[in-house]
Amino acid sequence: MEGLYFNINNGYLEGVVRGYKSGLLTTNQYVNLTQCDNLEDLKLQLSSTDYGNFMANYSGPLSTSVLQDNLSKKLFQQFQYVKSQSSGKLTKFMNYINYGYMIDNVILMITGTLHERDKSEILRKCNPLGWFDTLPTLSIATDIESLYSTVLIDTPLAPFFKNCVSADDLDDLNIEIIRNKLYKNYLESFVEFVTSEFDGPDQEIMIRLLTLEADKRVINITLNSLNNSDLSSEDKLSLFPSYGKLYPTYHLQLSQAEDIEQLKSIVEYIGDYKDIFNESGDASGLRGLGDWFYLLEMQFCRNAFTQQFTLSTVYAWLKSKEQEIRNITWIAECIAQNQKNRIDSYISVY
């Protein structure tokens, strides 16, 4: 049924997004990139792809961070083009995508201010996908309660602050807790939006992607706080999004896990995630974990394009483009550090 009325409002934009998708780098193009000897070569190779003359206006010394900044500017331009022409449900959907980046920017501002870094420097590092007008005013950060009542209550992030506002001092661990709680609320709200507003293949694709995101966060929080005695298991449990294949059965056990073996045994209950610790089963054991999740996400994104008349192609394209920028940055780092033996750990599915 979605095919009947979709093209009236969203036909052009779906066409544009599919055009962007066909400009994503393929495996052969990645192989060409890995054979570059220095960053100038890399820039030259990239100019023959969809990125074109993305560094035409830059004349200083080339470094991987400069490269990454310019690549992400291109991503932002494309996203803005689609968003400025969107209407109705698609605009709301793209707003939801923006909220995730807004959370990152808020935390970046607060952290940067506490670390006594220069305000203009912090603003330059903020992700343009998460920009909102009152972001610069967050540099008056003293505690989260006053920030919320003066600045954040008027932003679209206000509803995500329930259970996050407390009178505790802002130190590094508390900021991390706030970040994760905000993201948990955001993810749950996003899932609610998708279940109520989307239907058919759209809903199916988005639910699959958001489930993976939720489970990925749970596993990463557990893994990265295994030896951290400052975070209690109740705190950890409050950071897990109430969604995903691991919810609700395994969240309690995961929050109480104390070593990697326990984590492995719990995660292996879920059929889809059984391989994540097996594939990388060498002495370091964990090398492939992040890569494995990214690979799964990319496969879901690639499959999302097989359905027509869906809004989820925007999300799938955005995630794929982000992964592409991550890949190119990794290749650039390996070239710059002369570590070509590790250059093949990028992820390419197209």
């Binding site: 961070s65 506490l114 006594e116 900021i175 990463n220 990265n224």
Partner: protein, 172 residues
């Protein structure tokens, strides 16, 4: 004459052994620890669970507030881990005070906590990058710590080689 000759030989052999040790440390450990540290840092940046590209782990996101160092070189030219030292002292204090007034213990630690902690506590520099960091960043920190130990060894060896060379020249 022969005594001087044998001393010279002995010192030359010592010098050669030291130079071999030096090459070993510099090429096999010092270099590779730095390389692995940087590679793991790039990997942490690649895989960090943030959604933006703000290069969360790097020179741009350091905490610029003044704070105490975690590693110190003492008079015997050994590396002292001040974090472990303060942790042990804190444990000892806790054990001692728990035997005394239990009621007053809590209020005492709260009032002195706020002022002393900011200045005297030695914090893990990892915390400036966030409370929960990827394991690659921890691996990177471990490699860089080893590299610091290696650099201490390198400096020691350099000094010993220099003194030996001076002694050999004197004997000649």
């Amino acid at each position: 004459m022969t005594e001087i000759q044998s001393q010279l030989d002995k010192k030359t052999i010592e010098l050669l052994i030291l130079i071999d040790k030096y090459e070993n440390v510099v090429n096999n450990n010092y270099r590779t620890n730095f390389i692995n540290g940087f590679v793991n840092l790039s990997k942490a940046n690649y895989e960090h669970t943030g959604r933006g590209f703000e290069r969360r782990y790097g020179v741009d996101s350091l905490d610029l507030r003044p704070r105490l160092a975690c590693l110190e070189v003492n008079e015997e030219f050994h590396l002292v881990d001040l974090q472990q030292k303060t942790k042990k002292e804190e444990k000892r204090e806790q054990m001692e005070s728990s035997l005394k007034n239990r009621k007053t213990k809590q209020t005492k630690s709260k009032s002195s906590g706020v002022e002393e902690f900011e200045e005297d506590k030695v914090k893990d520099p990892m915390l400036q990058f966030g409370g929960i960091v990827p394991y690659q960043l921890r691996q990177s920190q471990a490699f860089f710590k080893k590299a610091i130990e290696n650099s201490l060894e390198v400096v020691k060896l350099q000094q010993e080689i220099d003194t030996l060379i001076q002694e050999i020249e004197k004997l000649r």
